[in-house]
Amino acid sequence: MAKASKPASKKPTADKNTSSGGADGKPDDGIHPAARPFLWLGSHGVQRNFMWFIGVLMVISIAMNYIKKPYGYFEWEAAIGGYAIFGFLAFTFAVLMGWPLRKLTGRSEDYYEDEGGEDDG
């Protein structure tokens, strides 16, 4: 009696652009081995509190103005922490202007649909 042929394997094939399964049989989480020591960078707590680390560095950089008094071409450059104040205000201004600018210039994604849309191309 002829053996009934086995149905073709339904094992899903990995997308060629995504990580393949681990060789050790463990379930593959798609994490690159070189990234494993740095996974803490992705934790919510680290991302949320990273700014305080930067804040401390900023304070240190301002304190350095006391070691050597700043100077420059213009008056504000010679102020203690002058660049820090300028940087903070400039950045905040640029970002906050995004709100009204988006209201003014933002349109639906298919706004230019009549010409094929603004796809990723």
Partner: protein, 575 residues
């Protein structure tokens, strides 16, 4: 003859010949070999020229034509070198692609840009200028989408138009001066100067003429965008440095160029479009340096163009790698990719640090030269805007690109790391970003004029770190308190809205109106002709009035009447 053979050869030819050769080679391995070898040959040719001068000139006395296709001097030397480096890195980056058209066009495009940089006369410049437009558009079209086809057409119209302005200005200038030489032009030459200025300005993406950049670059192929970012705009900056150095208007044009993209980049969702705005922003710094026009300003512009080709290319490459693996460059769909693409993330961070001008990175040196040149001339307001723009660069290119692509929220996407060739190209660019920032003495030795400027002073380093750290702190704070505009899938309108919507509709409306008008006129004329035809038919046809049988007396009466009239006229004439 012997003199001709021993004369230095224009390195641009290496890329141009390679491009035409690649167009004929069906085997991708052979094409890739040529693509890699051509920049190396160009570099070798570049190194063979030890004396500044103009080589291989063509003089046709009969028509007074003096072409100088290969001028090698301090200004063209550095631009040519960065184009060679870019061509080599780009060839590595696109090694995995199998597109003959792109391979060929990328090489010819790079060679044309180099040819334009070496052009010592305006006619040679025009030829290469147009060749860059015609070849580069294929890098957009090869993306194969409807949007890329339309964007490519808009790009082509702008760039060919730029060449037409260049040619018109060159012809006018020749009629005034009797020379085709491409030297300092200046706006004092009147209409000729303005036409050339505008022609250069289109390719340099001056404000209101800039939208082709944000329109086309994000729609090009992945490697095409990297290639595009290397050549066209930098070639235009070179042309401005050559022809319009010291024009005050450039200071203010450049200042606007540095500032306005900052606002748009904040709200843009497409990361390749964000980088396109960043191209505009960095060009602004170069244009300001040229407008200042001192040796420090020109050196700054040249140094920044050199550094920008590398760090901007690196950022485009990292976003391209993300796009290759995930299929998108939209910030809303990305995030957390450092888990599976750690090397791409690392190289992206280096590019981000370089463009933000962190100490030890290339832009720290190059941007400082421009800022010092601006301050030396006492332009306090312009200086302030450039510092603002420096904080803005950090926002969109320094933070936004790496943060939203590789960190931020986890998109749960776990794509493979980029192919080895992409990583290698990014690695070389990353190395150069640091090398130029550290070995700035070597960097200085490439600049057109001798440099006496020390970027690494205690006060300068501290000031720059304050600026950058405070800006990053502001970013963290704004994110935390929810004031940072979230990424949203939408279209952000730019100045091109004007011709993509109202002007387009106006043109369509005028077309429809003119169609109707012509149809109405045509109908009216037709009906008149038909009426006249009917009348004549009624009169002259076999069934017409003249053919009818009429009584003989009537005809005799008519004949007598005509005879009388003729006699009366003859009498009047006689008397």
């Amino acid at each position: 003859m012997a003199e001709l053979l021993s004369s230095p050869v224009n390195p641009a030819f290496a890329l141009l010949i390679a491009g035409f050769l690649m167009a004929l080679l069906p085997d991708w391995r052979q094409r890739k070999f040529v693509a890699l070898a051509a920049p190396l040959v160009a570099l070798w040719l570049w190194m063979q020229v030890s004396v500044f001068g103009s080589y291989g000139g063509i003089h046709i006395a009969a028509i007074g034509l003096d072409l100088q296709p290969f001028r090698f001097d301090g200004l063209s030397r550095i631009w040519a070198l960065i184009f060679i480096i870019a061509a080599f890195i780009n060839a590595i980056y696109s090694l995995h692609e199998r597109d003959r058209v792109q391979d060929a066009m990328a090489a010819i495009y790079g060679g044309s840009a180099m040819g334009a940089v070496f052009a010592g006369d305006l006619l040679s410049l025009f030829v290469f200028w147009e060749l860059t437009a015609i070849t580069s558009v294929f890098l957009i079209w090869r993306a194969g989408t409807a949007a890329s086809r339309k964007a490519g057409m808009r790009y082509l119209v702008m760039h060919v138009g730029s060449g037409v302005l260049l040619l018109a200005g060159a012809v006018l200038l020749h009629s005034q001066t009797g020379s085709w030489a491409f030297e300092h032009i200046g706006l004092e030459t009147g209409l000729a100067g303005w036409l050339l200025f505008l022609g250069f300005g289109i390719k340099a993406a001056f404000p209101l003429l800039h939208s082709w950049l944000q329109d086309a670059y994000p729609k090009a192929t992945i490697s095409g965008t990297v290639v595009l970012s290397s050549f066209t705009t930098k070639m235009a900056v070179y042309a401005l440095a050559r022809g319009f150095a010291g024009e005050d208007i450039l200071i203010y044009i450049g200042m606007i160029m540095t500032a306005f993209p900052v606002f748009f980049a904040v709200i843009e969702n497409d990361l390749r479009r964000v980088l396109s705005f960043s191209v505009n922003n960095q060009l602004g710094f170069m244009v300001v340096g040229i407008g200042i026009g001192t040796t420090l300003g020109i050196n700054g512009a040249a140094a920044h163009a050199f550094a920008d080709v590398i760090f901007k290319g690196l950022l485009f490459m990292s976003v391209g790698a993300v796009m290759l693996r995930t299929g998108t460059a939209k910030a809303t769909e990305l995030g957390g990719l450092f888990r599976s693409m750690p090397f791409s993330a690392f190289f992206c961070l280096i590019g981000a640090a370089a463009i933000s001008a962190f100490p030890l990175f290339s832009a720290f040196v190059s941007k400082s030269l421009i800022l010092a040149a601006v301050a030396d001339e006492g332009h306090w307001f312009v200086f302030g805007v450039l510092i603002f723009a420096s904080a803005g660069v950090l926002e969109h290119a320094g933070i936004k690109i790496p943060y939203f692509a590789f960190f931020a929220h986890d998109s749960k996407k776990r794509p493979k790391e980029a192919p080895w060739n992409m990583l290698l190209a990014m690695g070389i660019a990353a190395f150069l970003c640091i090398f130029l920032g550290v070995n700035y003495g070597w960097f200085y030795s490439l600049l057109p004029y001798p440099v006496i400027y020390e970027p690494y002073t205690f006060v300068h380093i501290v000031g720059q770190m304050q600026l950058l750290l405070a800006a990053i702190f502001a970013f963290g704070l704004l994110i935390r308190i929810g004031l940072y505009p979230p990424e949203v899938r939408m279209t952000i309108l730019d100045v091109d809205w004007l011709w993509r919507k109202p002007l387009k509709h106006l043109a369509l409306w005028l077309n429809a109106i003119s169609d109707r008008l012509f149809a109405a006129v045509e109908n009216a004329i037709d009906s008149k002709i038909q009426n006249a035809g009917r009348s004549l038919t009624a009169l002259l046809s076999p069934q017409g009035a003249f053919a009818r049988i009429v009584p003989g007396g009537v005809l005799t009466g008519w004949a007598a009447a005509f005879l009388l009239i003729a006699l009366f006229i003859a009498y009047l004439a006689k008397s």
